[in-house]
């Protein structure tokens, strides 16, 4: 029986905790592959979630809300309000005597507040120069990917009332 360990080139800790580097690398590649497949599963779950939302998502119900009087907004002027909730900033524009249009004030790019550029008759986002048409809210230029959601308005006497929201589906 040997009482002493024979002299070795490797330090003692390497003898006692021997790790085969090639084996370790091999296992980690397999584990990484597993991780990638789980990520793929997550992507699929995301797509299924979107599908479920589009099939079973509830259509939002909007309440009516008095915005302002027709005399409150001069021709070429704007009126800021919140609709449908207190967190949703909107902008009402009166481009000519008889026309009133309103849109969400949140840019569809990165949610900066858009403003009405009277001289160019369009809504502009100052952050990344995204421009929207005031006719239907479509994107005229810039990075915004979607049109601005439109607030549906009704004129009741001299009162302007918000009755719902709609989004232009651009092709």
């Amino acid at each position: 029986m040997k009482l002493f360990r024979p002299a070795s080139k490797e330090p003692l800790w390497k003898d006692e905790f021997s790790i085969n580097r090639a084996d370790e690398q091999y296992v980690s590649r397999r584990q990484f592959t597993k991780f990638l497949v789980l990520t793929s599963l997550g992507m699929f779950a995301g797509n299924v979630w979107i599908l479920a939302r589009s099939w079973f998502g509830k259509t939002p119900v909007y309440s009516e809300k008095n915005i302002c009087r027709t005399t409150d907004v001069p021709v070429g002027g704007v009126w800021l309000f919140r609709y449908p909730t207190e967190k949703d900033a909107c902008i009402l524009i009166r481009p000519d005597e008889e026309t009133y249009v309103a849109y969400s004030q949140k840019c569809t790019h990165l949610s900066c507040a858009v403003f009405y550029a009277r001289e160019k008759n369009r809504l502009e986002c100052p952050c990344h120069e995204g421009y929207f048409s005031i006719t239907d809210g479509r994107v005229l230029q810039g990075p915004p990917p979607r049109p601005l959601p439109r607030v549906l308005l009704e004129k009741r006497g001299d009162q302007i009332v918000a009755v719902g929201m709609s989004t232009l589906k651009d092709s």
Partner: protein, 88 residues
């Protein structure tokens, strides 16, 4: 040209690397698909959700098949390596 006499382990590693590269490409496609679908959904185009989910499912199946392939190659290479060690 010299005949290639690679060890089963090295061959296995090459196969795993290939599968890994393929899975990575499929994953990038799947990520793009998810972002494009979300963008369309937010724009009100709900009709794209079903085809996107189907394609994403197919990509997941391919990834899973590649993973099973990697596991099989790995097990085979380990077995061969073990036999080599046993028989000197």
């Amino acid at each position: 040209m010299e005949p290639q006499n690679q060890s089963p382990r090295k061959t296995g590693l090459t196969a795993i690397d290939g599968a890994l590269a393929l899975i990575t490409i499929l994953l990038i496609v799947q990520m793009w698909l998810l972002t494009a679908t979300l963008e369309s959904y937010l724009a009100g185009h709900h009709e794209v959700a079903l085809p996107a989910a189907i394609v994403s499912g197919i990509l997941l199946i391919i990834c899973a098949a590649l993973y099973l392939f990697v596991r099989r190659v790995d097990a085979r290479a380990r077995e061969a390596s073990r036999n080599e060690t046993r028989h000197g």
